[in-house]
Symmetry: D2
């Protein structure tokens, strides 16, 4: 093959296949057991293959395995390794399967693994936000609409918003995991096989909820499942990007709502007043990266003719890059949250009296029985006078308001493992 063509076609896939390989090994184990079940492999042959896969896994962890250009992909590496280690029996591993269902099942396991891991870390971060909300629930802070001071709120109320956002994200991660929890192994190149493989067996073996049925649909679903996966990733980033952007704003000299731990800011030895939160800027920018990646995954595969098409390979990079971004972003967000300390006086000094007008209107409704629209007009002409901030906050008792955060409900959701 023309080496330029070969290199172009392979692209950077080897890098990403290294990350897929543990899942490919896992699926190969199940496939081998399945072959033994239908007596394509003897018990002894199975043992040889399993031992070789164990050895491969060890070598992989030890950094001894490389994917060379001749290998092309991790699937070939595995088969070649088996042939080398186990001899003739290695040539049997590819019975009744194809690289097409092999990559499908490995990616499915990869996605399931990371969806669960990220769900767990998203819940842990939500828990941190609940704790922060509890701690700061009495610290007054203006609430905003249109970036204009709107009504009195609290730092705790602000943090609780992100706890709930992340809990929702965790739910979607779980929902997508359920959506893609179907085993493609055994669908071969897209048209099944005459080898009497037992797909229900490998489905159980690998812990899938069910087989993905139609062998052609396995190929056609590529890009679809990946897009749903990245939608869940993107939702996490939408939560974190907004938080990051808020914090960049809140630590500006003009707002000055939080002091930030020095370990979080880029040092500018010449401008000691600066608290550059580069980390939050990068987090904010990473929302776009994940969005772009979701677009690529969807777009590369959309409207392709039914069946396997090679560009499926191009979905690996954006998927894995986004996975790392999300995992790292959650870790970093927890560190950022831990490094923020509200500055109550500074926050209070910025409060504008106008934010109490709506409260006056509500008081006129409740105490004087005025129709809201009339109260609203009257309140606009009144002065809030000296407002007791704590009392004002306490008065906002509607569920989920600053005076009634409902943290117990969030804590209950934290306990509901999916």
């Amino acid at each position: 093959m023309n080496p330029v063509v070969e290199k172009y076609t392979a692209g950077s896939t080897a890098i990403f296949d290294m990350e897929v390989m543990p899942f490919d090994i896992e699926a190969s184990r199940a496939h081998a057991k399945g072959l033994a079940k239908i007596e394509i492999l003897t018990a002894d042959e199975l043992r040889q293959i399993q031992n070789s896969l164990d050895s491969l896994e060890k070598d992989l962890k030890a950094g001894k395995i490389k994917i060379t250009p001749e290998d092309e992909d991790c699937h070939t590496v595995i088969e070649n390794y088996l042939v080398e280690k186990a001899g003739e029996v290695g040539k049997k591993i590819h019975t009744g399967r194809s690289r097409n269902d092999q990559i499908a099942v490995a990616m499915r396991l990869y996605m399931k693994h990371h969806l669960r891991a990220i769900e767990t870390s998203a819940r842990a971060l939500a828990s941190d936000f609940v704790d922060a909300a509890e701690k700061q629930k009495d610290v007054p802070m203006s609430g905003y609409s249109h970036l204009q001071q709107a009504m009195l709120s609290t730092v705790g109320h602000y943090f609780a918003a992100y706890a709930e956002s992340l809990l929702d994200d965790a739910d979607l991660l779980a929902a997508v995991r359920k959506y893609i929890d179907k085993n493609p192994l055994g669908t071969a190149a897209g048209f099944g096989t005459s080898i009497p493989i037992d797909r229900e067996f490998t489905t159980k073996e690998l812990g899938f909820a069910a087989p993905q049925l139609n062998s052609l649909y396995v190929q056609n679903s590529r890009g679809k499942y990946e897009s749903a996966y990245l939608e869940a990733m993107a939702q996490v980033m939408l939560s974190l990007g907004r938080f990051a952007n808020d914090i960049v704003l809140f630590v500006s000299q003009e707002f000055d709502y939080f002091s930030v731990d020095e370990s979080l800011t880029q040092t500018s030895s010449i401008m000691p007043h600066k608290k550059n939160l580069d980390v939050c800027e990068i987090m904010r920018g990473n929302v776009s990266v994940v969005m772009g990646n979701q677009f690529i995954v969807k777009d590369v595969m959309r409207n392709l003719v039914s069946g396997y098409n090679r560009e499926g390979q191009l979905t690996k990079k954006p998927l894995m890059e986004s996975t790392h971004i999300v995992e790292d972003s959650i870790e970093v967000a927890a560190i950022v949250l831990g490094g923020l300390t509200p500055k109550p006086e500074s926050i209070r000094a910025k409060l504008n009296k106008g934010i109490f007008t709506a409260d006056i209107a509500n008081e006129l409704v409740q105490k004087e029985g005025m129709a809201f629209r009339d109260a609203y007009k009257k309140a606009a002409e009144m002065d809030a006078g000296d407002v007791d901030l704590a009392k004002n906050i306490a008065s906002k008792k509607s569920l989920g308001a600053p005076g009634n955060l409902g943290l117990d409900t969030l804590r209950a959701r934290l306990k509901n493992k999916s």
Copy 2:
């Protein structure tokens, strides 16, 4: 206000608010009941408001309601209508709510409604594909990979792939519905209210699974929920766009796999041989439109400072346009499917012998106990001879293969209403 600025800010929102209004009325009913429950409204006042809302709904259906530039949005239209019809009591409807939670709850109801409706129609279309698969399960057709003939398959196997794809889509539509099934009503402008409204009551009244708790999060989730909604829409389009593209290819003169009902093709009186399937081309193109719309919804809101921001308004158009595209596309896809008749001879005439080589290899494995990799090499040098197509198909017995479509499993899923 400067009229140019006003017009620019309003944009085309009035058109889309007309579509939101029925859901806004529904939420207003629940809100009024809630106000009666906490005695802001007397039983008599509640009755007046309910009567007026009934009347508004009737007028709306009769095309008598318009949103004028002065109204700005459907929320004002409703309040003004109530004041006009019910008098003073109309001024009370806005107690304890804001246009911010009002649009949130109306859009939530809109999304829930369409998610359920589209789930139902996606299932109906999946059912059509199951029927078509049953009918054509014995018609041989080449299966493709890389758009090259790969292995023998059937028209039925091909159709069954889309049945399963749409069943998956229906599952995701249901999952997203569950994800967003939270009531934002009662969170006011984003910071709750001192009016002692009962959010659990309106939650039940409107049939939500739970309140969306944190009032700030209600604002922050705008764009997020919409993006998840559009991901589900996009998944349907990914199924349909691929189908549409296949069919454009399969009805070309070179493939000639299907005859198409004349009612589906643009007539080209001068080129009678042409079977232009414009409808499928548009369907294929609409995948990009929905993808673009999902991007807009996500992007408009991403990284905005916490709280209400006006550009939320811009999410309505892409969301509703996509909803219509998906609803129409499903309807049209059913018509297209109904208008396709396979041409067995033409399909058969295109079959290339090479597609049987993998089968030979599998036979060598099964009958001669050869290791797959060796069988594979040997098969490459053998001639398939005369192949009995029916027998070949029947031999592909692995679950989901052409000889074992598993249509009963699909039918069982059709019955599992979410």
Copy 3:
């Protein structure tokens, strides 16, 4: 044809074809002249057609022309109108052309027209920014990096940045106009014609720089040219969106850098302190809308088989919607700029001393000959003392710095019409 299929295929194209029609008429005039030149039309027949086209144009302006579902598109409307008005000769207008090159040439004229118009208005807005920069060139304001106060700058310097941004945008608009300035008329359905039409003639007649040569490429360039067009549109929006976002921030209570004319803000009668700049939020959001539209235009057409494909129709809506957004946004941005008045005291009160440290370092370099890196370290420990703001600004004399805005260079560019 199945009416559901017909409706779906047509979509909302009629609305957009109404906007294309004037350009279609213009091209039809040139085409008719071309047919007369090669004697397909007699002089008299040409006159009849021209009169009918004049009459159609008048009727169109008067709102008397509609595109009915039977017409399908504006091309048919024109031909039918000619047949009706001019009789038999109307049937000759379609000689040597196809709807494929007809829509191509009409869209090309549409794009050229708007590129020029928007270039002009972008330059006018740039001119406003130059004027504002001149007026405010001595008003100190902190410059920012990472949204942290970085160095002293001026309001004039800030405005001048946008003048240059828009001048660049105007240049790109002109460059794209040049890029697409090629006449597709006469390429028929994509494969030319045996009618001996004179493409050079219509090229001159319509004011194109050259014919677009290859008839198949005319079809293949659809989506490409449109994407380049929308890139130029997007660049304008990137300028305006950033400006809009800055202003939303700068009018917040915490910054309070500008007072805003009341005609620009949404009135909040209950919170008189609020200066909601909804108009800027919408402008900011419209960046995403135009980006989404550019994506659609590119994506709908990408990787389609060579030749005309029906989904080209779907490029019209995003292209025209974006055109309007950009035209309106420029108009509105000029109004916003006109309604901003800097608040020098408020701005000055926010200045943080740290922003002068870099200046101290530079002074150590210049006055004491210290190496910059050493000066930088020393400056970090020094106090800026009382800084004369005017003098500090004047000291920033590098080209394009606050003390040397180079407005004359910008004014010279304003005069360079493309």
Copy 4:
């Protein structure tokens, strides 16, 4: 600094900075000369710095330079290297500049370099297509619309379409190069400097057309220029992706229009009939990758507050990745084109008589003076009979039609170097 935060913030930027470094060195040379001109550096000091930069360049080429985490970026590496090699004078290099204008100028040089290189290779590929068009200009092939056979064309006409497409792409690459040909060096952190640097001098030194004037605009244009750059890249990919998709179709068994050199296809030893053109599938998919990257570059920076923001760093990866994709894709497309041999008999065997009907209509117009619309109706009922393909092709004489390719015009454009 927290190491997790540091790692997250740096991301993979070091990899991309390695690619920027040669341009950073080039700009550092010009900057040093500029400092000598204003006597910040003595002639001797300048010589020391130049020697050190030469040495750095050599070490870089030799693979001896690494960017460590402590270095953070290539800018620091350069300064540290200078201090190490040249001693005290190295500490002067950063006088009057900032890393903000340093990265801006390095990226500008990077983009200019690649725009020119890609323009050259795009023209070379266009030249290949012109040659192929010349060679195959008499080989009949059906032209398509809606993927239906539409009119007779030739393989040469088909290839000529891509020649023109690539010539257009080259023009846009040149136009974007001109658009961004402005020197940001000397704008420091975004607010200029009190060091009296001569920006006109470095502008000439580095070969820029003009200085980018306003120092704040330099920061604000980040993302904008990059997006314009990627639009030009995307246009090339739109040409190549369409070509790749055509070829995948044309080498399918059903079309069988071209034989393909074996060095281009993935070998499938078991299915010898298969001509899997993986390379074209990847090329087709890479269109989406570049589109996604353009989106990221635009989106990361859109609506950020004026001035430097850290996420600018995230634009490097998508920009460089796309640059490589485009460069490689052009190289590979030339190889693919070189490996295609038309199969005239196979193509001819697929021709459908209906494609001559439009010609009959045109003949009726020309020979019998019939009005086109009437001729069109009559032709639909006539039989084309035996068509002389060569004569038919020759009859399509309109400029750019199969019988009049205008290759000389394309050749003339090939000579017009930008």
